[in-house]
Symmetry: C2
Subunit: 222 residues, 2 copies
DNA sequence: ATCTGAAATTTGATATATCAATATGCGCGA
DNA sequence: TCGCGCATATTGATATATCAAATTTCAGAT
């Protein structure tokens, strides 16, 4: 991950506030469809159901509202707004942001980043043989992370992260297809080449098309 | 704005919750530099300074954290993270999202939208003579709004709105330049033509370049 | 049967109190 | 003088209480 903290062997991951925990729970419930679009949330009920007070729940709901998953009508209540259309728009947002990141990466990439990308491409191609899907998912993530690092765009990266809505199950399902694995590696390699060649326009276009194409595959699994 | 509510002559704009009000206050303070990057916020102090309790303030801070303007370290405090680099990245995010919206608009635009855009272009060109900058700002906003409506992408639009950080003063200053007014109209016309011609790739590229070029002008005024 | 409106209820918004982790200050010993 | 450790103060996190807007209920009139 990001630079710094080289002295810390582990992160204090066990310290997670209630509001963060609740945020994750409600977000998953919405994205997985257990809380459906249009549904109204009752703060008191939900809080007691979760065994907490309303304060951390309200904070979590504010975050979800800022992300556009719920909408709060003042003095009335909170309604789930997430639906299939928004899922597609979030995929498009991801494409827009990820491709802008790729563009910046193509401008600022260092030779060591290029080397890293190439290594990952080799690993991915090797992974085409094996069918260890979990490994491939991890490789994909590492590949995109290298580009993020190379871009130096921490804010864009963060904003992009908020558009991730695919479940682990959907990822597993998509990468289980032989053809999808092949396409992914092809596209990743083309993107890596564009960035290595310092061609921002090309890198941006390839990344956009890659995210949209693969995103549409994912959206079908929901 | 969006359809519906045709029966209501006015919106109950006066009903704004404390948390929304406070959110706007703190956001402005950060963007205008009155609260500087790195600074720590004290919840109790800030709340009493604003004459409110900590509950609505905490909610406002959660939203600002979701937007990436502040960062909360659990059990430690809240720190302003906004700085010049992030301002530039927010401009890039705007470019990425706005250009994706333009792309979608070029796919779905209706003839009536095209007519609206052309009307606005005519008004803008007329506005080149007069120096009513406030009018020009309003026209610019309406032009972009027409594209947003045409795209049908409510989520992208909303996400894009969160990347607006230019102050009114900066807008005034930028559009006071003769050359900038000319460029803006030229670029708007080219974008309108691309959308009218249903050319998504072109519309996307022109919009991106427009937002980045004009954004860099704005960033200089901060 | 339907509409009206006032009372009762629900519920989001806000304020206050409590808890616990972190930071701070100070005295002691090396 | 410099660490070290404990007592104290600070403060974010959470829980609870209160307020007020909005909804619901239902009696009474038409």
């Amino acid at each position: 991950m990001g630079g710094g903290d080289a002295l810390l062997p582990v992160e204090p991951v066990f310290l997670k506030s209630l509001r963060d925990h609740v945020y994750g729970l409600v977000r998953d419930a919405i994205l997985s469809g257990r809380l459906k679009g249009g549904e109204k949330l009752n703060e008191r009920h939900l809080a007691s159901q979760l065994g907490i007070s309303t304060t951390p729940l309200k904070e979590a709901l504010r975050v979800l509202e800022a992300e556009g998953l719920v909408r709060s009508e003042p003095r009335r209540g909170i309604y789930i707004t997430f639906n299939a259309g928004q899922a597609e728009e979030m995929m498009l947002a991801r494409a827009a942001l990820e491709s802008m990141i790729a563009r910046q990466a193509a401008k600022r990439v260092k030779d060591e980043d290029v080397a890293l990308m190439r290594e990952l491409i080799v690993e991915m191609r090797a992974g085409l043989e094996t069918v260890d899907v979990l490994q491939l998912i991890a490789l994909n993530e590492r590949f995109h992370n290298v580009i993020h690092e190379a871009s130096g765009c921490s804010y864009l990266r963060r904003l992009q992260g908020g558009q991730n809505i695919y479940t682990h199950a959907a990822r597993l399902s998509v990468l289980s297809e032989e053809r999808e694995r092949f396409l992914a590696v092809e596209e990743h390699e083309a993107i890596a080449n564009a960035i290595a060649a310092r061609e921002p326009d090309l890198a941006e276009r390839l990344m956009r098309d890659h995210v949209i194409r693969s995103g549409e595959k994912h959206l079908l699994r929901v």
